[in-house]
Symmetry: C2
Subunit: 405 residues, 2 copies
């Protein structure tokens, strides 16, 4: 008997019919003798419906009240799914984030899980019940409702798996696994049967949209086997695990891309110690996450400093940056939100120097100009004009021989 | 400075526009220097939308999960109303039933409030905030979400007023007060400026639909001034208070009616001690509330036993009663859900014997047959065929001279 955490996203529970299909799948797994905890998102469309209600009242709702509002979405789903399970004769019980005691910090809309109290959940499991938990939400130490931000249900699932010491955490979604590239861009992209946490982290943060970064980080930290599967069709999906168990690691696993970013550049920054911190601190204080950071070697005691943020944060970051520019006496501030980041990911590249060369040559052959470059141990990312998204991804997918024959 | 509890029902918060109007009214009251706690219901239509989702999954959802589902309705409203208040520059904070710690028993769908922990709410009020509380809901001692049943938000409001020792509890609704009869039935019905708890209790339980019985009971027990007002137009509404403060108590305050009941009769019951308990215990165990009970004097050691229940419980009560009839060896069971109960209410009748006579004569003159009669200190109720609803109420309203000139 294994303890398995299932997670179903908004599309998988988007209608009462689909909720019943999800219930079927859970009953099936239960019959195999497993203990099951199910984490669910709000029904697709529900979060937007709630947001539009808030928007009719105010353009800038307070983060606390937004969390009170949005957390109702998952609460509806846990009740409906539990009803569906009970209807099928499967003993089940629902828990909100507050009821489980998913304790988070107090950063509304983007809270982080501190710890989970699983005593009650374990008791329910021992009694043979399926426990249905609301994803995306928690409570802070004062009992205020918090949400984990977009994609937070994945994090809830992995955190529950960790707290319960589960054997596997299955993320059911509308795709049947992780691909070598976005199949809507690259026709012959292949499903990967296995991937390391590190690779998935690079893929996820780079916009594969299959799994939330934080969830993968969590899984890696606590060594939780994570499997991405389709809610709608059968298949073994993609297993995300540690390197030791992923013996056949390829040189390159896939080509990811991300069109959600915008870049900002401070021009003519005095080239002296501490300047990067002066520029980025106000951005961090505004809770804006920075992805790539590039600073060129300075000439004449002056340098350019470029970084990328989520497109939603572009305007806010720009206005903060203009203030900062005055303070640090920079020449100018520039920005561009029509960019795309394309990344080549693979644990195999650690021991192979030729990857960057292959990338640059392939892009040059297509006359695609590279605006920024950033590398890590297992990935090389380039920022290009967003018009090159499709051709860039395709040419790199081909250059590394990732396509189906 | 007074502490005032406001309560707004589903119609009053039915759209985001109306929520903003409610916010205006609260800001207005706040400007008068009062501390305010606001209790709100789900937006009108929301509870039915949630119920229909549940119904698509199962005809008989478990009461626990139904509460998890339905309680999201008020949670949405508290968030939206708090946003609207904040938008108008009014410091406010929302609380779910669980967050306030409105502690109830564990009878899902029909829970009763045991106690309320107001420390946090008091602290927020002292800080100058308007506290917006979700009506209709609470938590049991194990943290399970409970709901108080239909109209439960009134009870939440009065319970909050009691726990906070508030000066007044204002129930804003879609009518501007309590009338001498339903204005849609009796054209010249008049708004009452004042009413005793006892009268309101008889009016409410008899279907005036303005206030929930339990809320009035609560207010009477703790001597809370209760005022019914319109959310949409100005006016002082109807004050419900104790008899001493209501000096002008009329002989008869009003004519109430209730079409929500059904009657059941057990025929040929052995006339011996304990038989009423044998009949009603299984009904009570099924959580069905019984209203009127009539038993005639027995002939030949046999009697008929009649009682009324809510129409929604009619089928269930009937099937229980058929089982009971077998056990107690009754001759037959009969039922009728096409009835209406009409009641004449007034504290003044305590000292006046002629009221019943006036009622019976007025109905007889209209050839309306009386099926059941039940009396209390301050009311006389009759059950008649539902086709006599309008004529019955009108003729009694006229017989006691309650109409406007």
């Amino acid at each position: 008997m294994a303890l398995i955490v299932h997670k179903y996203g908004g599309t998988s529970v988007g209608t009462t019919e689909r909720i019943q299909l999800v219930a079927d799948r859970i009953v099936e797994t239960k019959k195999q003798g497993h203990q099951i905890v199910v984490v669910v998102s709000a029904m697709s469309g529900e979060t937007n419906r709630l947001l539009s209600l808030a928007k009719k009242i105010t353009e800038s709702p307070s983060p606390r009240e937004l969390d009170v509002l949005l957390s109702t979405g998952e609460q509806v789903t846990i009740a409906l799914l539990t009803m569906a399970l009970e209807k099928k004769g499967c003993d089940a019980v629902s828990y909100t984030g507050g009821q489980v005691q998913i304790k988070t910090d107090s950063v509304h809309n983007k809270a982080r899980i501190n710890n989970i109290e699983v005593t009650r959940v374990q008791k329910e499991l021992q009694e043979g019940k399926v426990v249905v938990v609301a994803g995306f939400q928690g409570v802070d130490e004062n009992g205020n409702i918090t949400t984990l931000g977009r994609g937070g249900s994945d994090t809830t699932a992995v955190a529950m798996a960790t707290a319960l010491n589960a054997n596997e955490c299955r993320i059911y979604t509308d795709v049947d696994g992780v691909y070598t590239a976005d199949p809507s861009v690259v026709e012959n992209a292949q499903r990967l049967s296995c991937l390391t946490y590190e690779e998935m982290l690079e893929m996820a943060s780079l916009g594969s949209k299959v799994l939330q970064t934080r969830a993968v980080e969590f899984a890696r930290k606590y060594n939780i086997n994570l499997r991405v599967l389709s809610s709608f069709k059968e298949g073994s999906g993609t297993l995300i695990t540690n390197e030791e168990e992923n013996m056949e690691a390829a040189l390159i696993s896939g080509i990811a891309h991300n069109s959600d970013e915008a870049k900002l550049t401070v021009i003519g920054v005095p080239d002296k110690p501490g300047i990067a911190s002066l520029i980025l601190s106000p951005i961090a204080e505004a809770n804006i996450e920075v992805d790539m950071i590039v600073q060129n070697v300075g000439l004449n005691n002056s340098t350019d400093f470029t970084f990328t943020v989520h497109r939603n944060d572009y305007e806010k970051a720009m206005s903060i940056l203009k203030e900062t520019a005055k303070i640090i006496d920079a020449a100018d501030v520039m920005g561009d939100n029509k960019i795309v980041k394309i990344s080549v990911v693979g644990v195999g590249m650690r021991s192979h120097a030729g990857v960057a060369r292959t990338i640059f040559k392939a892009l040059a052959d297509e006359k695609i100009n590279i605006q920024m470059i950033s590398t890590s141990e297992i990935k090389v990312s380039v920022v290009v004009d967003e018009k090159h998204l499709e051709s860039g991804v395709r040419i790199l997918h081909m250059a590394f021989g990732l396509g189906k024959e």
